[in-house]
């Protein structure tokens, strides 16, 4: 399989998973805010932190409020992490790999894009958003089913699943993040963990489980009432639930073994698996999960770097070599710079590489690149297709 095609179907898998999970994340967070009293004042900005978009948002919008924040995260085309932007990229990756994916998959992706485009054009009220999340989630699920039952389980399929696996692991950590961040205001109001906190905790973790369609699995497995530490442990370390980080990594590992030269990538996956499984969830919860989740997300991003070095190269552009070197520096110094790293792992650089024709895209991506040396190196390193479009234009003139 061509390296360039492998890279595109890998991103197809990532965007597919990212879209579904972003819808889940926004859905759970919205419904939680309506459940928790006295939190609406800080509410919507937190969503920007979790998605790593606060800085980007601040450069465009002043006011943090329900409507502008959600519009920005769902529909804003100048935000490369918005659901709609991801959908455009999903479609673009599908359009350029039509020769390896089933025709029905392309048609569904195309429909999903066209439908979403139509619905974000009209109302964005709470009710409409709910419906939109539901539609997106079920369409993505359908697409996943279609791929698994209608596509040959070949190398292209393996790359799609690897993309989905990495993205799923990453997104689950973000959704777990919602839990701990959402409880902060209640902490502030009622002090330490105690029985005052209980009703809130319950609401929060129940919502988290529901958002990942994990409530039933949790109850069957844990036989316990819903408790924060148990939920976090379940979502991070469970070996049987498909959206749990540990499970996603095991699945990822199995797919890797079908590919040539997978050893280094596998090493990176197993490292993340160790970090996940060794976590002492109880004590982490007391200190706050944030730093731990950050560490996890950075090491998930390392898997991506390793696999792109292994299969998507060899790349002629010298900048990419730089990009491969830089992350080590970030790892040491940057673990506190949560926002930047998250932004990076949301990969705006990729957005640019995949949609180079839109000249408008340049400014915001550059602005974002400032916040992360890694993102910067990447966005420079991937002019591959971008370089081609103008060349062809010149050809036409002659």
């Amino acid at each position: 399989m061509l390296s360039s095609v492998a890279e595109r179907v890998y991103w197809l898998g990532r965007y597919l998973e990212r879209i579904e999970n972003s819808a889940r994340l926004m859905d759970v967070y919205s419904s939680m805010l309506f459940d928790l009293p006295g939190t609406t004042d800080i509410g919507w900005g937190v969503l920007l932190d979790i998605t790593g978009e606060r800085e980007n948002y601040a450069s465009k919008e002043g006011r943090i409020d329900e409507m502008p924040v959600l519009k920005f995260l769902i529909a804003d085309q100048s935000n490369y992490s918005s659901i709609f932007s991801c959908m455009k990229l999903l479609r673009e990756n599908a359009r350029t790999t039509r020769e390896v994916i089933p025709a029905e998959a392309w048609e569904q992706i195309n429909d999903l894009y066209l439908d979403t485009k139509a619905s974000i054009g009209s109302s964005m009220g709470r009710q409409a958003r709910r419906n939109l999340y539901d539609t997106i989630i079920s369409d993505c699920q359908r697409l996943g089913g279609l791929l698994s039952s209608c596509m040959s389980h070949n190398t292209a399929y393996t790359f799609i699943q690897i993309g989905r696996g990495i993205e799923r692991a990453d997104m689950t950590t973000r959704i777990v993040d919602v839990g701990s961040i959402s409880l902060l205001p209640a902490f502030k109001k009622y002090g330490q963990v105690g029985h005052y906190m209980e009703p809130f905790e319950n609401v929060v973790w129940m919502n988290i489980l529901r958002s990942l369609s994990a409530y039933q699995a949790y109850r069957q497995h844990i036989h316990n009432r819903v408790k924060g530490a148990e939920v976090v442990r379940f979502l991070l370390q469970d070996e049987e639930f498909p959206r749990a980080v540990n499970y996603s990594l095991s699945a990822l590992n199995r797919y890797l073994e079908q590919l040539p030269n997978h050893e280094e990538v596998q090493r990176a996956v197993l490292r993340v698996k160790r970090i996940t499984c060794d976590a002492k969830v109880y004590s982490l919860l007391e200190k706050g999960l944030l730093d731990f989740i950050d560490e996890l997300q950075i090491s998930i991003a390392d898997i991506h770097d390793e696999l792109s070095k292994t299969w998507f190269g060899p790349v002629e552009e010298p900048e990419l070599i730089e990009a491969v070197v830089v992350p080590k520096a970030i790892k040491k110094t940057g673990s506190k710079k949560t926002t930047a790293v998250k932004t990076m792992s949301k990969v705006p650089a990729k957005a640019k590489a995949k949609a180079p024709a839109k000249t408008k895209s340049k400014a915001p991506v550059k602005a974002k690149a400032k916040s992360s040396p890694k993102a910067k190196a990447k966005s420079k390193a991937r002019p591959k297709s971008a370089a081609k479009a103008p060349a062809k234009k010149a050809a036409r003139k002659k």
Partner: protein
């Protein structure tokens, strides 16, 4: 929007569906009756469902504009065009004949140049041709074939006969739309397929694969064939991807390929993997920056070397474009006679070449009646439509012709045939042409019908999709039913 054939008037033009007496053309009556029997709501619903199908299937093409490149949905008219099988079989023999002769011609030009020595074609036409590639001299590709894939544009005049308007021997496009048009029609009018015996067109991708496999340097059952595209922003990207998919070939860009020791490889997740045949959809001048345009980022460094050494098959071969020059076109009847000793089956449109002084004078004096075309443009660019042009445009063109007569030829405006399209107010006639696709490897193949392109604007002759043209499904039907 009920269809009423009585109110359909196509003036003096030949119409593909309704004859001059107002009755359906032979073979078309089942179609016209069926359409007339449909209720307006039903007709509208079918038309809408076509639009939906095209959207969902993502059949698109790219339009270049200052505001950026836009992916447009393929403009399609739901009423098919009908050609009788008997007529088509004669036409397709003519198309095969033409391509065979053209390939002999190209092979001769790059080798013995007999036709020039015999003064059948003037030598300076070749020496001044922008599409002649010196680098290809002395090369003898397999089967003596340079142009493996040809898109020949046919038009039908007022007399009802097919004429060849031009040959496209470089990177002709449109075949994917021909195939998709049929798929769309099957979705929309499944009933009609029961009552008609329509020749299938679906085998084109396998025929293309066979043709390409024929030029693999080492004979193999399944040689590694790749489709080389300029990239996702090319107007024909949809087609490149479509053909790769249907042939089971890899779709590559220049950056996916590398040449080492005069052999071509593609970069895969397993490392480098050898390539046998490249179906290139990039112009000659961009395929290899080390030989042609050094600024090309679309091509592959060293590709020409690999081809010259016979280590990779290239379709179409570089330099094949020398024969689709619009001036050479005027010599094709003589070329057919010269190499095959046969009379041309398909006539050319009468043409004047400006490099001939007397003919140039005629052209300049009759600019208001003629269509003037530059030798090497395609897609309808750089043309003068004399009867529709302003005085100023004609004067400007006269200057261009005088400055570079070799670069121009002129033809009388042929009254292109029409066919009904379904507009908002029922059926209306529109002008159209036909692009069949012809393949030649060790054997020849012609598509059943081809891509019918329609000028969607009333009275217009411009059928190019880049300039607002649409298309129709084209049926070659057996006469028996």
């Amino acid at each position: 929007m009920k269809i009423d054939w009585k109110s359909y008037h196509h003036d003096d033009f030949y119409d593909e569906i309704i004859s001059s007496s107002g009755r359906p053309q032979p073979g078309a009556s089942t179609l016209t009756k069926y359409l007339a029997s449909m209720k307006p709501e039903e007709l509208k619903q079918r038309k809408d469902s076509v639009a939906d199908a095209i959207k969902t299937m993502g059949i698109s093409f790219t339009v270049y504009s200052d505001a950026g490149n836009i992916d447009r949905e393929w403009p399609f008219d739901i009423i098919p065009r009908i050609i009788r099988a008997k007529e088509w079989s004669a036409t397709s023999k003519g198309l095969e004949q033409r391509l065979r002769a053209l390939n002999c011609f190209i092979n001769d030009l790059y080798n013995d140049r007999k036709i020039l020595k015999d003064k059948v074609v003037p030598a300076d036409l070749i020496n001044n041709s922008g599409n002649y590639r010196k680098e290809c001299e002395g090369i003898k590709p397999l089967h003596g074939v340079w142009a493996h894939v040809c898109g020949t544009d046919l038009i039908r005049g007022a007399d009802g006969e097919f004429y060849v308007l031009e040959d496209n021997l470089r990177v002709p496009s449109g075949v994917s739309y021909m195939l998709e048009n049929r798929n769309v029609t099957k979705r929309v009018f499944p009933e009609l397929f029961e009552n008609y015996n329509i020749q299938p067109i679906t085998e084109y991708p396998s025929q293309l694969f066979d043709t390409l496999a024929d030029i693999s340097p080492t004979p193999k059952d399944y040689p590694e064939v790749v489709v080389l595209t300029p990239g996702i922003y090319n107007s024909a990207y949809f087609e490149h991807s479509f053909l790769a998919q249907r042939m089971g070939a890899e779709l590559v860009q220049g950056s996916d390929l590398v040449v080492e020791n005069d052999h071509v490889f593609m970069k895969t997740i397993n490392g480098l993997s050898p390539v046998d045949v490249i179906y290139r959809r990039i112009d000659d001048l961009f395929i290899d920056p080390s030989v042609f345009n050094p600024e090309s980022t679309l091509g592959v460094k060293g590709l020409m070397g690999a081809w010259l050494k016979g280590n990779v098959g290239l379709a179409n071969a570089p330099g094949a474009g020398v024969a689709d020059d619009k001036i050479i076109y005027t010599y094709v009847p003589q070329i057919i006679k010269y190499y095959l000793d046969e009379d041309p089956i398909l006539p050319n449109v009468p043409s004047y070449i400006c490099s001939d002084k007397a003919q140039m004078q005629h052209v300049l004096q009759n600019l208001d009646k003629l269509v003037v075309k530059p030798a090497n443009e395609s897609g309808g660019y750089g043309m003068l439509m004399g009867p529709q042009a302003s005085k100023k445009e004609r004067e400007e063109f006269a200057r261009k012709i005088r400055a570079n007569p070799r670069n121009y030829m002129a033809q009388p405006l042929i009254s292109l045939s029409t066919a009904p399209i379904l507009g908002d107010n029922g059926v209306e006639p529109r002008h159209l042409d036909l692009r069949p696709f012809v393949l030649q490897g060790s054997k020849s193949y012609v598509t059943a019908g081809g891509l019918t392109r329609v000028a969607m604007v009333k009275g217009s002759y411009v059928v190019n999709s880049s300039q607002g043209g649409g298309s129709k499904d084209t049926w070659v039907v057996e006469d028996t039913k």
